[in-house]
């Protein structure tokens, strides 16, 4: 069933791509790459753009089947289940991290103290509700919020422009390429966000021509925005970066004008939280789609409830502690994500090539 329009898909791709990139990603990458962090980000974004390109290509070529049906057709049912298990592990970790990030961001920015349970119940309910209502509701909700999200990004980028010196991190590549690669391997986890776009296969009403190029243009601009934000952020903070945890929050505290008033960046941060919530809903939706074939249900209600209960249990066990998650990301999750991204790229290539061969056979 075609649930979303091309425009809605592009907005979902932009929001998913932006997830965490203004919040915790700059710090974690800086920890590995130090002065060359911006190049780690550029490398990561290039790989993410390649992933998005292949996924949109698969979407355009396979409009009549959903992801599971497609994988089952190409890799047999066992292959499809194996791929879904791998995807489940990544999305599950991503979702758990998203909730922890949201909670920590809230506590850091908005409250002195906030009960995890008081956070979890409404947050899980709303993201679960959006995911349960499906791609159509997610797409339309994002469409409404998109203007605010763009507004937030503009504030985030422009508020510290006057402090740009351009030479804080110069010279680059003092120690060769290894710091850049170390930074990239630290933060590869964040560049796998777009994997979840795979779950929109067969759900998009592609009415516009140049679907792939339009998606690539939009996500390319998003990559530029992220690069610009991180460049300003690294330039303004310099080596003091390693003491910051949440880019946007710390960012606002540096600005003397904002220190006095703070409201503008507050607004931007609130918009960023809304954006985080939106992308979290997409992750919940994906998790529901993954668990659906395993639980053999017709609706996604049960898969979503089961998935959210699992995420809730793990997040509660970890006490919503972001430091533990940072360690997991740095030591394991980023490498695993990198591997998964390579696998997805391979799968997408196979899906495109096989489809093309079939089409040629049909023409002959």
């Amino acid at each position: 069933m075609k649930e979303i329009t091309t425009r809605q898909f592009i907005i979902i791709a932009i929001i998913v791509m932006l997830t965490s990139k203004f919040v915790t990603m700059p710090t974690i990458i800086f920890a590995g790459a130090t002065k060359d962090a911006i190049f780690s980000i550029i490398l990561g974004l290039c790989i993410e753009l390649l992933l998005i390109f292949l996924i949109t290509f698969v979407i355009q070529r396979n409009q009549d089947k959903n992801l599971f049906q497609l994988l089952k057709e190409k890799f047999s049912i066992v292959g499809a289940y194996i791929i879904f298990i791998l995807l489940f592990i990544y999305i599950f970790a991503r979702l758990t991290f998203s909730y922890q990030e949201l909670y920590s961001f809230f506590v850091k920015l908005l409250y002195d103290e906030f009960s995890p349970l008081l956070f979890a119940v409404p947050a899980f309910f709303v993201t679960g509700y959006l995911a349960y209502k499906g791609a159509r509701t997610i797409g339309r909700t994002f469409e409404i919020l998109f203007a605010f999200i763009v507004f937030g990004a503009i504030i985030a980028i422009s508020s510290n422009l006057e402090f740009l010196s351009f030479d804080t991190n110069m010279p680059y590549f003092e120690n060769g390429l290894s710091p850049m690669l170390a930074g990239f391997s630290n933060g590869a986890f964040y560049f796998g966000n777009s994997i979840c776009l795979l779950f929109f296969v067969g759900k998009i009403k592609i009415t516009q021509t140049k679907f792939v190029s339009k998606t690539m243009l939009a996500t390319g601009i998003t990559a530029l925005v992220v690069t610009l934000f991180c460049f300003i952020f690294y330039d303004v903070f310099g080596m003091s970066m390693q003491y910051t945890l949440f880019a946007l929050t710390e960012y606002s505290q540096y600005d003397p004008f904002i220190l006095e008033l703070q409201r503008l960046v507050w607004l931007s941060a609130i918009i960023d939280i809304t954006k985080l919530f939106c992308s979290t809903a997409v992750f919940v939706y994906c998790l529901g789609q993954i668990t659906k074939p395993f639980l053999q249900t017709k609706t996604t209600l049960l898969p979503i409830i089961v998935s959210l209960l699992l995420v809730f249990s793990i997040a509660t066990l970890l006490n919503y502690d972001l430091e533990i998650m940072f360690d997991i990301i740095r030591n394991y999750a980023s490498y695993a994500t990198l591997g998964l991204m390579c696998l997805i790229i391979l799968i997408c290539l196979i899906l495109c090539i096989k489809r093309r061969k079939n089409e040629q056979k049909f023409i002959q």
């Binding site: 409404p122 159509r136 509701t137 919020l145 809304t274 919530f277 939106c278």
Partner: protein
């Protein structure tokens, strides 16, 4: 149809059919040849002048020759004055009598004629109280459905304007009329609406609002799902967009379907002023509605949970004002909202002259005294008053705005900004999911429909509005030749 030969017995039979009601009346007359005729009707709903001057007099003057038939002769002569028909069965005849017809029974024949003689009390079309315009038509609908159809037909002299009839209510037998343009409205939507109306099985309908709840697609939603208007120009414009209009006898409020939220942002005034002014007013209305919903909640959230965001000077002013107030901010705001709603409700129900006095007393004396007594703070009164006024910029959504304001106030008080973000996300997610007969509730914003934005937040000029809204299902998209062709 069992009609007894003897006229008196037949009159008695019909009187019993109406349970011997006291306003059942009968007249027995004779033609010039002496043929006996009886006329039965309900006394209070009949135009007596028409009955005596046209029907009875005509019947009395009939002279039947051998070749002629009294029944056919009466029918051909009365038809010159009013509508005459032959009822298909007894049930139809009884229904007709209840709708202001008189039935004519003839001696020695089972045939019956029904003659329209209804005289209902009809109000003259006047300017409706809630839809007053500075410029533009001032006519409003009345309680009579025939007058209402006339008012629409006056504006849409089209052979494609179809009026389908229906009757709902076992006891009230309320006349319902469904109006649409046959070559514009989507037949599937028309059928769906008719099907919904046909499914209604109720004892009586006394106003159009009775059937709105049957037409709602989301049963438990607090949001309005059926459009209403009390102006024929608006109804005609909506029919031209491909909507279906439902007229209920006895109600000056006409229903329109499908309904989208944007309709309430648009006012008839917008179409009788310049596009720039209309655009400005729409942005103003939307901003007022958003502020009206969120302001008390944000105020409470900031004051209770995020005090560091409030500018220092404003914070000093607020803290000076709230010093010594016995209630916590949330209860204080809830108390004032409660007072505001009571004053509103009381002023609606009071006689008009007293209501005016009450609103003055409420606003000036009660508010001032409460502040003076130190029960509530001036900022809290100001915020509730401002948001109260703002909610009436969209009068048709004021109930929903009040409800949401209360919800967001409570959420803001308990959970701060986090709660408000969650609430807004849920609200948007809920609204985008609603659908009214094929029209997405938040169209043309979600889903984004570019062509419909010509009459969205921004109103463009009539020459640019070349197509009908895509968000309203229709089978004829083009409205006028494109601007280029017009040139």
């Amino acid at each position: 149809m069992e009609i007894m030969e003897d006229l008196k017995k037949r009159i008695e039979y019909f009187k019993q059919k109406f349970n011997n009601t006291s306003d059942f009346a009968s007249r027995e007359i004779s033609t010039k040849n002496g043929t006996k005729i009886a006329i039965i009707y309900i006394e209070n709903i009949i135009d007596k002048a028409l009955l005596s001057g046209s029907v009875i007099l005509t019947l009395q003057n009939i002279e039947v020759s051998q070749k002629q038939n009294i029944y056919d002769l009466a029918k051909s002569q009365i038809i010159a004055y009013t509508k005459v028909s032959e009822p298909a069965d007894e049930e139809t005849m009884l229904e007709n009598i209840l709708n202001g017809f008189c039935a004519i029974l003839f001696e020695n024949t089972e045939k019956v004629l029904v003659v329209e003689c209804a005289k209902w009390i009809i109000r003259t079309p006047a300017e409706p109280p809630l839809s007053a315009v500075v410029e533009g038509p001032r006519e409003g609908f009345v309680e009579d459905f025939i007058t209402n159809i006339t008012l629409i037909r006056k504006r849409l002299k089209s052979k494609n304007l179809k009026v389908d009839q229906m009757q709902i209510g076992k006891e009230s037998s309320t006349q319902i009329r469904i109006l649409y343009l046959k070559d514009v409205a989507d037949p599937k939507i028309v059928e769906k609406i008719k099907h919904k109306l046909n499914e209604i099985n109720i004892d009586g309908i006394v106003d159009s609002h009775y059937i709105t709840e049957f037409l709602n697609t989301s049963k438990h939603s607090v949001f309005k799902q059926v459009g209403t208007t009390e102006k024929p120009d608006i109804a005609a414009a909506k029919i031209m967009e491909g909507r279906v209009v439902i007229i209920v006898d006895g109600s000056p409020i006409v229903l329109t379907l499908p309904y989208i939220l944007l309709e309430d942002l648009q006012s008839s005034n917008d179409y009788y002023t310049t596009p720039a002014r209309a655009t400005f007013l729409r942005i103003l209305r939307l901003s007022a509605a958003i502020v009206g919903i969120l302001l008390p909640g944000l105020y409470i959230a900031l004051l209770t949970h995020h005090i560091k965001v409030i500018p220092v000077k404003l914070l000093i002013t607020i803290s000076n004002s709230i010093q010594g107030i016995p209630l916590p901010p949330l209860l204080e705001i809830l108390f004032i909202i409660f007072l505001f709603e009571i004053l509103y409700e009381a002023s609606l129900r009071m006689p008009r002259y007293m209501g005016l006095a009450l609103s003055v007393v409420g606003a000036l004396i009660l508010g001032d005294t409460a502040v003076q007594a130190g029960l509530v703070s001036p900022p809290a009164v100001l915020i509730v008053a401002i948001t109260g006024v703002m909610s009436y910029t969209l009068p048709e959504q004021s109930t929903q705005i009040s409800f949401l304001r209360l919800i967001f106030t409570i959420i803001g008080g308990f959970m701060g900004i986090f709660g408000i973000i969650i609430g807004v996300l849920f609200l948007i997610g809920y609204l985008v999911n609603m659908d009214s007969y094929g029209s997405p509730y938040l169209a043309p914003f979600a889903p984004y429909i570019k062509s419909d934005l010509k009459d969205g937040m921004r109103r463009r000029g009539y020459p640019q509005m070349t197509t009908r809204p895509e968000s309203i299902p229709n089978i004829n998209h083009r409205r006028q030749k494109s601007e280029r062709n017009n040139d």
